[in-house]
Symmetry: C2
Subunit: 340 residues, 2 copies
Amino acid sequence: MPELRKDPIIGRWVIIANERAKRPNDFKADQAGMKEVLPCPFCEGDEHMTPPEIRSIRKEGTKPNEPGWDVRVVPNDSPVLRIEGDLNKRPHGIYDMMNGVGANEIIIETPEHIDHMSDLSPEQISKVLLTYKERIEDLEGDKRFKYVLIFKNHKPAAGATNIKHCRSQLIALPACPKSVKGELEGARKYFEYKDRCVFCDIVSQELSDKKRLILDIDGFVAISPFAARFPFETWILPKKHSSDFTSIDKNSSVGLAKVLKELLSRMNKLLNDPPYNYIIHTAPYRRAKEGYWSSIEHDYHWHIEVIPRLTRVAGFEWGTGFYINPTPPEDAAKFLREVK
Amino acid sequence: MPELRKDPIIGRWVIIANERAKRPNDFKADQAGMKEVLPCPFCEGDEHMTPPEIRSIRKEGTKPNEPGWDVRVVPNDSPVLRIEGDLNKRPHGIYDMMNGVGANEIIIETPEHIDHMSDLSPEQISKVLLTYKERIEDLEGDKRFKYVLIFKNHKPAAGATNIKHCRSQLIALPACPKSVKGELEGARKYFEYKDRCVFCDIVSQELSDKKRLILDIDGFVAISPFAARFPFETWILPKKHSSDFTSIDKNSSVGLAKVLKELLSRMNKLLNDPPYNYIIHTAPYRRAKEGYWSSIEHDYHWHIEVIPRLTRVAGFEWGTGFYINPTPPEDAAKFLREVK
């Protein structure tokens, strides 16, 4: 009998199709468009191929836009939003609109031509994570922005252009995205009812159940969510409650880097180098630290969602937000735990 | 300058990337997996290849599961939900789940081996639409179900198995899907504020603006939504307010069939036979006709969403529900209006 499971945060129902459960080898990852684009604009020595850098972690004595860096942040040269200008919020008849103002940056994760984040050292990944933190904090100064989304598209089937050099992206938005709002509202309702953070309750149940637990390293867990939408969807959460990704520090960022590296390399082995996305869900900017905003600190909990792109989303999913997952999360977690 | 536009019903923001606007020829439809599966289980004469029919429109004197039908409804032989059993709603620690009980039916739209719905006559399509209506009404008798979703997946890239015989699907669900709930709530808020149906206001603005209007035939309009998520996304709405798709009758179903046929054949020509999905959004079952439920009748408005599958959804979209649409809806409507 298939199961219907409800996401405890936003109330989304998912069909877990355990009767036709799919194993890792049942998926054929879409390797479309893998002809590489060369020369690579993200390699050390080719700094002139990108717009001037916004920020970098570099060796002492080296100059911006020259070799000598570890992590480099540059504007996306075909940005989806524009950095200059006013929002000019306005009606259009019954509709609402504003100018497409925002930031769109590329975080180049290594000076070497390496395709997989999981091939970087934990120390290098930690530098990438601290760069995310720094960018989110820096952009808070721009009052037009309400949210910064950090995400990674790996491979063309996951929305990336085909340059085999690992990187992530940042988009700063003038409105809080709907899916983050949904999580904030769901987490608040749970907190009002239980006086506990729903994510903390999830972490605690998964640590005691163990069936959906994949990794538990240095203060972070990787779990298969109970109501996972996609096969092998995995969430990484800090065990210690925190609403903001920017609460990570040099020390904890190495722990997070270890979990991320380990998870991505296991997915890579188990699922034959699949296209994937990850996204960081963190609290929105709260420039007013009171009223509605102050409670986010206890009721929300930042996390990373990692989604291998193994299935196609059909009309049913678009039409209902009711996902069909052919791999029970308990099976996915077991496979990922057992990868050598 | 790109634009940020807000969907007036559910408040979703969309980036309209008008600076790098894409024209119909810029999209390469994914024609993956087009090797046909034969013999076709949906052709007249091959009735034994499907499970026994649930319902059919057939010529007088012919028997079920024999030739002589116009439209035939059969259970999906690998259903995502099971028709037998109790829901058995239960907790699993902090989580909620129930048995995967539901109906999953295939509506075979023609006895002939025809791939495109747009190649059927309006009279034939009208029979398909009246079959949808009959199935939704019939399933209301099963108190386990709260919602019936009717949808079509055309071609493998849109989630279909590769049988070139036009058909749609129905899934009856024991919970109202999240995206329908979002529309119901948004429409209710709008009604409370304005004392008008938001969809009626949309129809009225589009009829006067004309920039996003594609078709206006026999009481139905096809429009490019102001905050379309996808290039060439199109909505079909009845001009006369109605919350329930089941309010269509023999007469109005022919008008709706004409709009659907015309729209699908224009998309087919303009976008080079793209994979697409359509879904019908109608009000949920309201067995208690009072309280919360009674207001749905005036504040909700059924419609069909047609989505050609031309772009890939990347991490950014999954992470935020913040879509990037590279074809401004006004351009899409103009292209679709001008197809000969």
